[in-house]
């Protein structure tokens, strides 16, 4: 098993899928000659040439739509948004065309396309470059939404997404690109729609994904070490389709649940999870479900203010203390 960065794991996934299937191509701003704004496509132009690694003008709506049309014609495009903040320009193509084409054509057309790129807040990029639109995309039937937390999942889920016959929104953590982890050798594919229990526990279930996984695991360690609270940590990995069964099984065991996410609270992913869990496990709950989210504000530039918006291990611990009535 090799230790790779999240970035290199993504690059490997792209390279392997492009080697495996000549219909897979990568298109986006700066993906080719520049080797990728975040270097996820490093070396791919050299390996596959300009036919399959395509620099675009700054024209998100246009190239997202070109991808949809190419997918309808049988190719498997991977469309890179330099960041998902810019995907807002392409929402008409993603929502009205990619997501609905199968349904409104009575199943005649498939749109096997991956829209990928960094998502969420980085460091001091302020309001327009620090946003998590996970719940926007997850709201739309016809889309799948994937958000890996580790290098192994980054690789395995991207490979599964490229092979999927549906449009997939693949949200990479901008702050995760340099993180390292073990990645299984060979054709490592992680099926979409399967959560992973990152750490087993008995007292409370902590649900998280993508960038919120690391602070949640830290919180679980501290809870165990400082107070003997045993937290089970679940990384949902795929937001849609959601692996509700794994969540419900855990909550039935622990009777308590805290959901941690980077996005805004109102109509956030956590709101959906709360709904699913309370309906399935109402009689097993010993406390209201709580959510730890990003602050309900546009992202400020100031470093201290920015830090105050984000989910931290301490905020997770505070929430756990509330649901265990030990606050």
């Amino acid at each position: 098993m090799a230790v790779l960065t999240y970035r290199d794991a993504l690059t490997d996934a792209l390279r392997e899928e492009m080697e495996r299937d000549p219909d897979v191509f990568l298109m986006g701003e700066e993906v080719a000659e520049y080797d990728g704004a975040y270097k996820v496509s490093r070396g791919l132009l050299a390996a596959f040439g300009a036919k399959r690694v395509i620099d675009t003008p700054i024209t998100e709506l246009g190239f997202a739509g070109v991808g949809v049309g190419a997918a309808m014609a049988g190719l498997r495009p991977v469309i890179e948004f330099m960041t998902f903040n810019f995907a807002l320009l392409a929402v008409d193509q993603i929502v009205n065309n990619a997501a609905k084409m199968s349904y409104m054509s009575g199943g005649q057309f498939t749109v096997p396309i991956v829209f990928r790129g960094p998502s969420g807040a980085a460091l001091q990029l302020a309001s327009q470059h620090s946003q998590a639109f996970d719940s926007w995309f997850a709201n739309v039937p016809g889309l799948k939404v994937v958000a890996p937390a580790t290098p192994a999942d980054a690789k395995g889920l991207l490979k599964a997404s490229i092979r999927d016959n549906n449009p997939v929104i693949f949200l990479e953590g901008e702050m995760l690109y340099n993180t390292k982890g073990e990645v299984p050798d060979g054709d490592h594919v992680v099926p979409l729609g399967q959560a992973e229990v990152k750490r087993e526990g008995t007292d409370v279930t902590l649900v998280c994904y993508a960038k919120s996984v690391a602070p949640t695991l830290q919180a679980a360690d501290t809870l165990q070490n400082d107070g003997g609270v045993s937290a089970e940590v679940i990384d949902i990995r795929t937001i849609r389709p959601l692996d509700t069964a794994t969540l419900v099984t855990s909550v039935r065991k622990t009777n308590r649940c805290v959901i941690v996410e980077e996005g805004w609270p109102f109509s956030g992913i956590g709101a959906q999870l709360v709904d699913d869990i309370q309906r399935e496990a109402f009689d097993d709950l010993d406390a209201p479900l709580l959510r730890v989210t990003g602050a309900d504000v546009p992202m400020p530039y100031n470093k201290k203010l920015e830090r105050a918006t984000k989910p931290t291990p301490q905020r997770v611990i505070d929430a756990v203390n509330q649901v265990t009535y030990t606050a």
Binding site: G65, N96, S105
Partner: protein, 332 residues
């Protein structure tokens, strides 16, 4: 090609082809008249945008394509679907929302699709289909094929971002695409001159170094001829073309829009009806003795019967099964 009649330029050897064009235009006219009636009777719901007056555009343009070429259109696409060879039954049943419709009753008037005929829809967002058509052209080039991708949209779409973004890429990447503007002069109720700083649409092509041509869209043969040139540029040279095809819709924007009275006068509509594309083709063919009155009547009777059969088929077809609600959202 020997031209027997210098004025008309019609070739008697192509009489069957001309008659086929006439038949298709008649089919679309009769189909749309019937669709309007069915809408008034509540058999068709939602939005319904009729193509009456514009038949020469779809028929002339699609006649210049091969069967394996791609066609993408807007929400005023009943005529394109029929000209592409989709059956009147499948299209009418779709308008009726029936399980036997081309999109299983899930698409409706604005979302006709036919994967077998590379008919890429039926799109309800103005301009949203333009990059999709370029994507089909991209796929052709990617695979080293020689198909072309034809995109229909109205003149009001030339002010939306996707038009400009797509023409830029199509020119930059030399895509085998044809962008056909059906210039019926009104985006819903807004006249071209009230919406476009540059009303000469063909002139827009210069911004992207694309060849353009202004076409008389009330003349099916002129449309066909311009399309043949555009198809050659796309198929042989992999160069896109912008066609500004001037046409006129004789009816309202949709079923809820009167044909005249607010944004255009009765006189204007009646003037344009004198330029009826079907009447024009009939007159030319009659002048050149390439068709008789009797043959025209027979063609008309044929397509009326075809449309009546389509209505009967749609009426007698079942609604989609309730569990169809949840199928086709995702593909396996």
């Amino acid at each position: 090609m020997t031209q027997v009649h210098a004025n008309a330029g019609l070739d008697p050897a192509r009489t069957d082809f001309y008659q086929q064009l006439l038949r298709q235009m008649l089919l679309i006219r009769r189909f749309e008249e019937k669709a309007g009636e069915a809408y008034a009777m509540g058999q068709i719901g939602g939005f319904c945008h009729l193509y009456i007056g514009q038949e020469a555009v779809a028929v002339g343009a699609i006649a210049a394509l091969r069967e394996d070429d791609y066609v993408t259109s807007s929400y005023r696409e009943h005529g394109h679907a029929l000209a592409r060879g989709m059956s009147a039954r499948a299209v009418m049943a779709e308008l009726f929302g029936k399980a036997t419709g081309c999109s299983k009753g899930k698409g409706g008037s604005m979302h006709l699709f036919d994967a077998e005929r590379n008919f890429f829809g039926g799109h309800g967002i103005v301009g949203g289909q333009i990059p999709i058509a370029a994507g089909a052209a991209f796929a052709v080039k990617y695979r080293g094929g020689d198909q072309v991708s034809l995109c229909f949209f109205g003149e009001a779409a030339v002010n939306i971002g996707s038009f400009h973004e797509t023409l830029n890429m199509a020119s930059l990447w030399k895509l085998p695409a044809i962008f056909l503007v059906e210039n019926n002069r009104y985006g819903m109720g807004t006249a071209l001159e009230r919406a476009s700083a540059v009303a000469d649409i063909a002139h827009r092509a210069t911004s992207y170094d694309i060849d353009a041509e202004v076409v008389d869209g009330m003349d099916v043969l002129a449309t066909y001829g311009a399309m043949e040139r555009a198809v050659n540029r796309a198929r042989l040279d992999q160069m896109p073309t912008l066609l500004d095809v001037n046409t006129y819709r004789f009816v309202g924007h949709s079923m809820s829009d009167a044909s005249h009275g607010t944004y255009r006068t009765l006189e204007e509509v009646e003037d344009n009806k004198k330029n009826d594309p079907i009447g024009k083709l009939c007159a030319r063919l009659l002048d050149d003795n390439l068709v008789s009155h009797k043959e025209i009547e027979n063609l008309d009777s044929e397509v009326i019967a075809e449309v009546e059969d389509a209505v009967a088929f749609a009426e007698s077809s079942p609604d989609p099964e309730p569990d169809e609600l949840f199928t086709d959202v995702y593909q396996d």
